[in-house]
Amino acid sequence: MACDSKLRNGSDLNEFKIPEVCKSNSGLFVNHELYVNYGGLDGCADVDELRVLFDQVLSFFLKEVCVSKKVFRPFPPKLGDGQEADLFKLFLTVRRIGSYELVSENNLWEFVARECGIEIGLVASLKLIYIKYLKELDQWLLNGGFRDGKMENIEISVVEKLDLLSRQLGRSLVDVEIIGFEDCKGKTEGTSGFNQVQGGMNLDFSRINCDDEEKFGAGGHKRCELSPKSIKKVGFSMVNDEVKRKEILPDNVVMKVRLSMNHGDDNVLKSVDLPVIDYLDDDDDDNDDVMITAKDDDLDNVVSRSVNIQKRKREEESLQLSEMLDWLANAARDPHNNAFETSQRSNKGKNFTNDHLHKQVLSARCALFAELNVDLGNEACGSQKKTQRMHPSMYENDRVQLRCSRRTTAAIPCPLKRQQTESSNIRTDRIREITEPHDQKCNLGPHHQAEVPQWTGVVSDSDPKWLGSQMWPQPNGPYRENEEGEMVIGQGRQGICECVFPGSAECVRFHIAENRLKVKIELGPLFYKWKFNQMGEEISLSWEPEEEKRFKSIVIKARYDLEHSTKSRREIMNKFWTKASDLIPDKLKKNVVSYYFNVFVLRRRSYQNRVTPKEIDSDNDEEEVGSVGDRFGYEKIHGLSLKCSENLQRTDLEP
């Protein structure tokens, strides 16, 4: 990053206040947007050099890494229209935004495509190419994969190239992530000092320049096209957890500390504003300034991400978060500072303290990005709720989608309605979406719209022949007189009954039967037409106990297969139905289905109601536990003695 960084106007961030709390605190909780503006490459020469390096590294990567994983990637990759994709540009653009996850989450692929000079229609294939070619490379570089033991046999030159590349990329892109992360990894348990902290802290980086917002929105693209200087937009939050790694405790924290700028102060406003403008105006401006701008604005959307940083060594305890923050504030205040520069140059750590702090910042960021999508929607972050938490999609809508056309937003259809139930499938489904781009346009045309005649004011004929056949009131039914008199409808359950044990199984059963009879008399023949005779547990009476037993056994078998077998669902279920018709030859499939819903599920429910009332779910076919009970009231009918069979059932059903 910015070796010779200097902030021309020397923006004075003196307004940064770090309250005392912060100093005694630890845990970093950054919530709000953090705009980091990085200086780009100095000239075209650099870009070319970088491109050459990138090509070398990529070809090496594809050869070595991909071959070892036995995947073949044709090169060069082509977009949907046959055009070759500029991988370097793509890589650079995505890096600028942050990471693949960040791009996807914020729906920025269209933006990326535009940056790469590719048509919007090809967004999907562009994304696919990124996933196939660059995502791993990105990860690999980030993780320092090339330092892996496996790679020792690789020529030093390549490693050097990689190093160079990563450093150059880092410099041009802002992201010293690579270096920072490596360092962080190098030390056994990680070095970030701020995670020894007990609490969390909430930093609001306030961005002063409100206009800037729009520039990011509207002018942003243009600027990026003009120069490789990049903009990074990130909102994140971080929660520190003493107890476990990678787990967020809801009761963790939270002291809110605001690093806010005084909005009323014109000086500050100016000083931060200016560099941005200079930046835009001066093309030969080679300052690689580090500018942290954040905005404190309630309307501003925030993507909060919580990240749990690994627990670090005790010896690092002396390094406090506050120290790091001080350093950060200082660096922002005076980027000319030698200490700062040194820290960026030296990986070896001449100036240990600064270097260290510098790395802390970077590794913190690194960790944040690495886990950005891990805990998306993690409800465990109770602490987040206290802050201005926003749903990610909110962010997406208000911020990003306004920039996108309707087409693009509509171009991400969700192919499966039921995928919400099968969360594990989502990932693959998404990939399928990418490969099968949809465009709303194709939904318009004679193959999609209904033919609607012009309204002429003349009523055309509606075919009155088919109006349905009246079932109720029964045209010549015996109960017509009822309707003349006072009729009370919509009565609930009668509160009092005269049963010996109100609420007991016998009582309930009696009332069900009573009501059934009532309905039967009232409906007369309709009772059969509406298939009331096929409703309720009653229908089990037409099943032989032997048949019921068989049905139960094949259900258990199918369920077991679904969980343990590698066969496809369709195969298993086909087998299930063939088996059902084999084992229960007297019953049609229709009867079996009806038995399933009217008896089988009902019994499962009655079991669940009694045994696991908190986990009732009659709609899940697969997770049936303890569902296969004796017939409800079986004893009553057959005069068998009561036996408690539930527990037995439960054990023999456990897969």
Partner: protein, 430 residues
């Protein structure tokens, strides 16, 4: 407690007994449960219940392409592997499996909505209910999201024969994309859909910016919502927008799709509506006093679907239902509480006030464009003269009186109604 409206309710016992396959969230058995619950509350005494005719392929082809309808008719689970290309072309498989009696099922629910529309057209009722219908995702040439035949489009096409403008309202948690798409270019149907949008939620369409095109521009309204919307904000938004829509558009008839997957605790949905909140929308729409066609839709937690649609049947009958569910065959599905109301969910409401405000403003803004450029005559249809149609080869005139044969054949109710006072007793005010 007495309903002045004549209510026609459509039900066929066969529709509830089909099975989409194991672990498929769509369970038509919910229709049996709903009907059962409706009867447990004696609601049938206040309405007419009809068995719909099974829609003929030619009727289905009023909207759908003939080859698609023909394929649906032809395919069955045993032969589906022989037609992989057609299966893919018509998007059958995954979400929309081929199951036994699939086509018959489609015929029944589509027939129900078509019949309902015809009864409304012929002014034989004021409100028609078909809980089996409302399958709003089906497209002209393909199945989608558990929907094979788009009964709503067929019903609306039928209504368009008698009405200049039809308003379609959709409160399913999913976007009513099939209906919107079918009428995307026309101003004779205004589609209004309230749905969850974003994060790749099915079907992925329904942004507020989708407003229709050509003549249909501004005649498609989408209200995209986020997870966890609650009763208060939903009903407020619904009332504001719908009252403005009705005022502006002046529809002759309203079609209301009451997908119950917008309820809290649905297996696929992510809203936080209570049954009362959901039913409040129905109540509100009913109050306009326009002819109303009410259909079902999604809803994947069976018990709640049955509860919701029963309550809404009650609402349409102006009947408040007590909370305790009367004993019936399916009481165990409603155990342990056996109550009509369900606990509200605990999903956080991600719809901020400002977000909803923005959406509302945008929708109202689009509506204003209609006021200034009415491309449809804003006059209601001239009164409808209904001429009974005698179909000689259908039935022997003598048999029309024979009630037992009525079920076997589709009956000409018109005759029956004209000649007899039968239908008066049902909705008398005496």
């Amino acid at each position: 407690m007495r309903s002045k409206d004549r209510i026609s309710y459509f039900y066929d016992g066969d529709a509830g007994n089909v099975y989409f396959g194991p672990n498929h969230p769509m369970k038509p058995h919910r229709l049996c449960m709903t009907h059962h619950l409706v009867l447990s509350y004696d609601l049938h005494k206040k309405m007419e219940i009809y068995r719909p005719h099974k829609a003929y392929p030619v009727e289905l082809a009023q909207f759908h392409s003939a080859d698609y309808v023909e394929f649906l008719q032809r395919i069955n689970p045993d032969t589906q592997h022989l037609f992989p290309e057609e299966m893919a072309k018509f998007k059958l498989g995954e979400d929309c499996p081929v199951f036994d009696d699939m086509f018959e099922f489609c015929q029944i629910y589509a027939g129900g909505t078509i019949d309902a529309a015809r009864r409304l057209n012929n002014q034989l009722c004021d409100i028609a209910i078909n809980w089996a219908g409302g399958l709003h995702h089906a497209k002209k040439c393909e199945a989608s999201g558990f929907c094979y035949i788009n009964d709503l489009v067929l019903g609306i096409l039928e209504l368009l024969k008698y009405h200049a403008r039809v308003l379609y309202i959709d409160i399913d948690v999913h976007h009513g994309d099939g209906v919107e798409e079918a009428f995307y270019f026309t101003d004779r149907v205004m589609t209004v859909s309230f749905h969850k949008y974003g994060n790749l939620f099915f079907p992925g369409s329904g942004d507020v910016k989708e407003i229709g095109e050509r003549e249909g521009k501004f005649y498609a309204i989408n209200i995209p919502l986020k997870d966890g919307i609650d009763d208060t904000s939903f009903t407020r938004l619904f009332k504001t927008i719908i009252s403005k829509v009705v005022e502006t558009y002046q529809p002759g008839v309203i079609v209301l799709q009451c997908g119950a997957d917008s309820l809290a605790g649905d297996r696929l949905g992510c809203f936080n509506l209570s049954i009362d909140g959901h039913a409040e929308c129905v109540r509100f729409v009913k109050k306009f006093g326009l002819p109303l066609l009410v259909t079902g839709g999604g809803g994947y937690t069976k018990e709640n679907v049955a509860r919701c649609w029963t309550v809404e049947t009650g609402v349409l009958l102006d009947t408040e239902l007590p909370n305790e569910i009367p004993d019936n065959e399916y009481i165990k599905y409603f155990a342990p509480e056996c109550s009509l109301r369900i606990p509200t969910g605990h999903i956080e409401n991600f719809n901020s006030k400002s977000y909803l405000g923005t959406i509302k403003m945008q929708v109202l803004e689009n509506l204003r464009c209609i006021q200034h450029a009415p491309s449809v005559q804003m006059q209601e249809v001239p009164p409808d003269f209904y001429i009974p149609d005698f179909d000689e080869d259908e039935k022997n005139p003598d048999e029309r009186i024979d009630q037992h044969t009525q079920d076997k054949h589709i009956q000409r109710d018109d005759e029956y109604y004209e000649g007899d006072n039968d239908n008066d007793h049902n909705m008398d005010d005496a």
